[in-house]
């Protein structure tokens, strides 16, 4: 899949994001690196931060469109 639908899903989940990036790591449309900076992450453990990203991308993860997902989360402060 292209990066745009993933970008849109993340924008929906993190409307306040100050940084939001989706990279197709291999060009094959199934290995992605996402970076999100949002106030929603503040005060959360890394596990809970990544869970929010997994929740946002639950559908493409479940249907196999995403084979590999690398996640980098940040607060905004």
């Amino acid at each position: 899949m292209a990066t745009e639908p993933l970008h849109a899903l993340l924008e929906q989940a993190f409307p306040d994001a100050t940084e939001l990036d989706v990279v197709d790591r291999t060009g094959g449309g199934d290995h992605f690196q996402v970076t999100v900076a949002s106030t929603r992450f503040e005060g959360l453990s890394l596990v809970d931060q990544h869970r929010l990203v997994y929740d946002a991308l639950a559908e493409p993860l479940a249907d196999g469109s995403i084979h590999e997902l690398r996640i980098k989360t940040k607060g905004t402060t």
Binding site: L46, H50, Y54, L61, E68, I71
Partner: protein, 122 residues
């Protein structure tokens, strides 16, 4: 035979450090499993590895227990620490060693032999 779900839960609860991975430490079948294994080794963690590849139900059951959709998954004393990205990040900033010391004691490196536990399909 013990139900699969109970086998997985028991490993998570009883092993000091569990790495659910694709392949085994001597034959790693995925780059992300390798990243997690390398980070754990660098921290001197006593790794118990579980290969989820032999049966697709292993991964389904694990993710249903942990609520974590991807592999690898690392647990310390029953607590989900994260996947490859988190374990690498914690290893790089020293928090992984701190977490292991808190959970397992100062001498956790002395228990560092790696072992592999196999799940039994029903």
């Amino acid at each position: 035979m013990t139900p699969l779900r109970d086998q997985i839960s028991e490993i998570i609860e009883t092993e000091p450090v569990t790495l659910f991975m694709k392949g085994t430490p001597s034959f790693v079948a995925c780059g992300n499993s390798q990243r997690a294994l390398s980070a754990l080794r660098a921290a001197g963690a006593p790794v118990t590895a579980v290969d989820i590849l032999p049966d697709p139900r292993f991964r389904q059951e694990l993710s249903s227990i942990s609520g974590w959709p991807t592999i690898p998954q690392v647990f310390v004393k029953g607590e989900l620490v994260g996947g490859a990205d988190i374990v690498e990040e914690l290893a790089a900033n020293g928090e992984l060693e701190r977490k292991l010391t808190d959970a397992l004691g100062e001498d956790y490196r002395d228990q560092r032999d790696e072992r592999v536990v196999a799940l039994q399909a029903a």
